[in-house]
Subunit: 469 residues, 2 copies
């Protein structure tokens, strides 16, 4: 830009009502910019994830490592200077994986890489040995004649498509969630699905599945992508393909874990809260670095940065490490129900969750009262130098969903998840997959978002109450 | 180029002694170019690898799948039209992997991904539980004081460096080959190494290791790269790190497998042979697609293409599927010894092997009599449109090494192995890692090389006999 024009632009900026409708002033923006720059110079997020993955590792809900993770999170928040750190109970049934093996018996014997789906029953006293019937997708299985899978192992081979925003997941994941029920309705005695994931590395992806009343509960497992290819190549040769499947798994009675909550107390409106967080639990196969150690690291670090300011924001910033997201959003539901029971839903000014890996943030979206949109746009201006655009649309994170369903407003910092489903729910979800610099960018974004939303006095409003998921 | 200059160049070409010293004429070059173009339009190589990986799968030397692979190779060569297909015996001791498990017991309990190294003993009746002593590399372990590893598990964490030509392997692999001996000399009761591989995916890489007389045989296994990181992170915290290691493995008495050999009989000099090939065995973890299903597919397809010519080349083209390369070049050694015993070393005009994965070929190199170099350069001219340069230097493939050590000349078609060590010796060595178009380029190159070397009457000479590896 020509220097004279620069001066003109600057003077226009200075005279415009820059912060109209935001409840924010130049000092607030400067403070937010300071948080952003401090985070970008190097945040604590990677150290937090390193600590969680090294000292706790896999932390499936209801296992001894779950309790260890809760103590770790509490101690870490205290060490990071949160004003108040406390636990809230979250109860759920416990599923345990004991062993899982599969192999082709005929016509081309060789081992297969599989993993049991979360919630699956085991194969019982003896492994299942049966012939395979393969389907291109769940709809094809549903269209199979009644009884046509009697005594068979159903295989579904639909392939998840890779997108930056992960939108290939939802159309693919039905095979995992509902495949066992649909296969059992046709008489199948087990089901194998192609992993709901995008990499062709030989990792099987786990994840939750469900049964329904009055339909037999059959074992359900995922094949790695190369193993699903292998079954397809065998089936294409036209001879019956026989497999052996051996799964040991168990459902146990209820366990009580905890949401771990740390607060930076608001200086003027401590009863009004802005929440950020991630989920503390992981699946058991990997160390849960990207799902969701990253979310824990990012939001702990962002909250701690705000806590280091000389002057706390007006509202309270609450960082939540949710319990058992993976097996049914138990932490998010318990949090929302507790708030509803205490009549505190209206105190929730904005909620956001980081649960889409460790890729950089590229968009800010929000579900707020239209009157509060100028605040979102103002926050977006501070985020813009991070390569973040402000957009309409979007959706809250999974654990924020339950309180949003009760009327609370939300924000979303959308991440680049192009490789998220390469690692998600596999043994390969480990620390090395995380770029520390990308984490810093996310800490910067969460710190700016939480700080400005908490500093503003604008009411983010309540949303029409939706039917709970 | 200006049209007039093109004409000038063509006329110069026509009058120049284009093929001086090569024993080849324009018709031979045209035939080679025809082979090249046919391969590039789509070869059989991928179908061969698909068949081998689907119908046989992992085929570790001495297992039932080894015998199955031999029958598969024989039948496949016959079906592909080789003039003569025969087996030659190859004997070796058999190593079997039964199970392998490792976990951190303290101070941060969590499971580890490991795989036993080929040839390792098991941990015996009970798992080994001991404290770790970590070393940055094999030299650091060698420098440890005598007895300092008494009762300990040694861990070596050196990291293989990625290069297109795989030259990071050799300086890194000593930890795998010799780590157990060096650790046992210091009193260690087991050894774990960082996988000799380049990917950070959570696969442990197996591969051969060795013991020596008078040093205790201790179990040896590789950690995946993320698991080696994990141990480093734990050790860095300063508390003793205790592991449990449980390996079941067994060495059995000798087994006799076979080199499988197919020939396109030479029309004038059938006793003179040009050999190409790959190794038929694989490790047991993956399906052996890139190591070395690719080499089998490429050279079977190249040989078959030559066999489809109306007129066979002057010399015999021999395609060799070597037995048990992985555990000590047994197939290559047996082949060389049988030729030496029969006085046939001098009949070997050129030998080449494809055993570096499925990446494209970028260089032709050779070890031949200087008088035969014009033939190599002429072959290089036909290969140039494939993106292949002709260079000095290089080395023969592993199974060609033993006959080269007895004086036979060799050629090398160097492949881009930038990702070879991502998959090599892991469960992730599967068909999906292969680009069929890249295989076609390699079939084109092997067909041209084998055809022109067999069509030329020039003697590729003998090399100074080297001490056998």
């Amino acid at each position: 830009m020509h220097p004279a024009r620069t001066l003109l632009a600057l003077s226009l900026l200075a005279t415009a009502p820059a912060f109209a409708g935001t409840g924010l002033d130049a000092g607030d923006i400067a403070a937010a910019e300071g948080l952003r720059e401090r985070a970008m110079r190097g945040s604590e997020a990677w150290n937090v994830v390193e600590s969680l993955t090294t000292e706790v590792g896999p932390r499936m809900a209801g296992t001894p490592a779950d309790a260890k993770a809760v103590q770790w999170a509490k101690a870490r928040m205290q060490a990071m200077g949160f004003d108040k750190v406390y636990l809230e109970p979250v109860s759920f049934p416990v599923w345990l994986r004991h062993h899982e093996r599969a192999e082709v018996l005929a016509p081309y014997p060789q081992p297969l890489v599989v993993t049991a789906l979360g919630g699956s029953v085991g194969t019982g006293d003896a492994p299942i040995e049966a012939e395979v019937v393969a389907f291109a997708n769940l709809d094809a299985l549903k269209a199979a004649p009644e009884g046509s899978l009697e005594g068979k192992i159903a295989v579904i081979t639909n392939r998840m498509v890779r997108f930056k925003d992960g939108r290939g997941y939802s159309p693919a994941v039905g095979a995992r969630s509902n495949g066992a029920v649909e296969a059992a309705r046709k008489g199948a005695i087990a089901i194998l699905i192609r992993s709901i994931g995008t990499s062709s590395d030989r990792f099987a992806h786990t994840g939750a599945m469900r049964y329904v009343a009055d339909v037999p509960r059959i074992p359900a497992a995922a094949l790695s992508n190369p193993d699903a290819d292998l079954i397809e190549h065998m089936v294409a040769r036209g001879k019956p393909v026989r497999l052996r499947l051996d799964i040991g798994a168990e459902m146990r009675a209820s366990y009580t874990s905890h949401n771990v909550i740390g607060e930076i107390r608001g200086r003027e409106l401590p009863g009004e809260v802005v929440t950020i967080g991630g989920h503390l639990d992981s699946w058991d196969l990997g160390t849960g670095a990207i799902d969701d150690g990253a979310g824990i690291g990012i939001t702990f670090a962002a909250g701690a940065l705000i806590g280091q300011l000389e002057r706390a924001p007006r509202r309270t910033v609450r960082v939540i490490a949710y319990a058992n997201e993976e097996q049914g959003l138990y932490g998010g539901k318990a949090y929302a129900e507790a708030r509803a029971a205490a009549g505190e839903i209206d105190d929730h000014q904005l909620g956001a969750e980081s649960d889409f890996g460790a890729g950089r943030i590229y968009a800010l979206r929000a579900g707020v009262d239209p009157a509060a949109w100028p605040v979102i746009e103002q926050i977006g201006q501070v985020l813009a130098p991070l390569g973040i655009t402000t957009e309409r649309g979007g959706s809250p994170g999974p654990d924020v969903g339950p309180i949003v369903a009760k009327g609370a407003p939300w924000a979303q910092l959308a991440q680049d998840g192009i490789d998220y489903f390469d690692y998600h729910h596999t043994a390969n979800d480990t620390l090395d997959k995380i770029d520390p610099r990308a984490l810093d960018q996310q800490v910067a974004a969460y710190a700016v978002l939480a700080y400005l939303a908490a500093e503003s006095e604008v009411d983010f409003g309540s949303l029409p109450v939706k039917k709970e998921n």
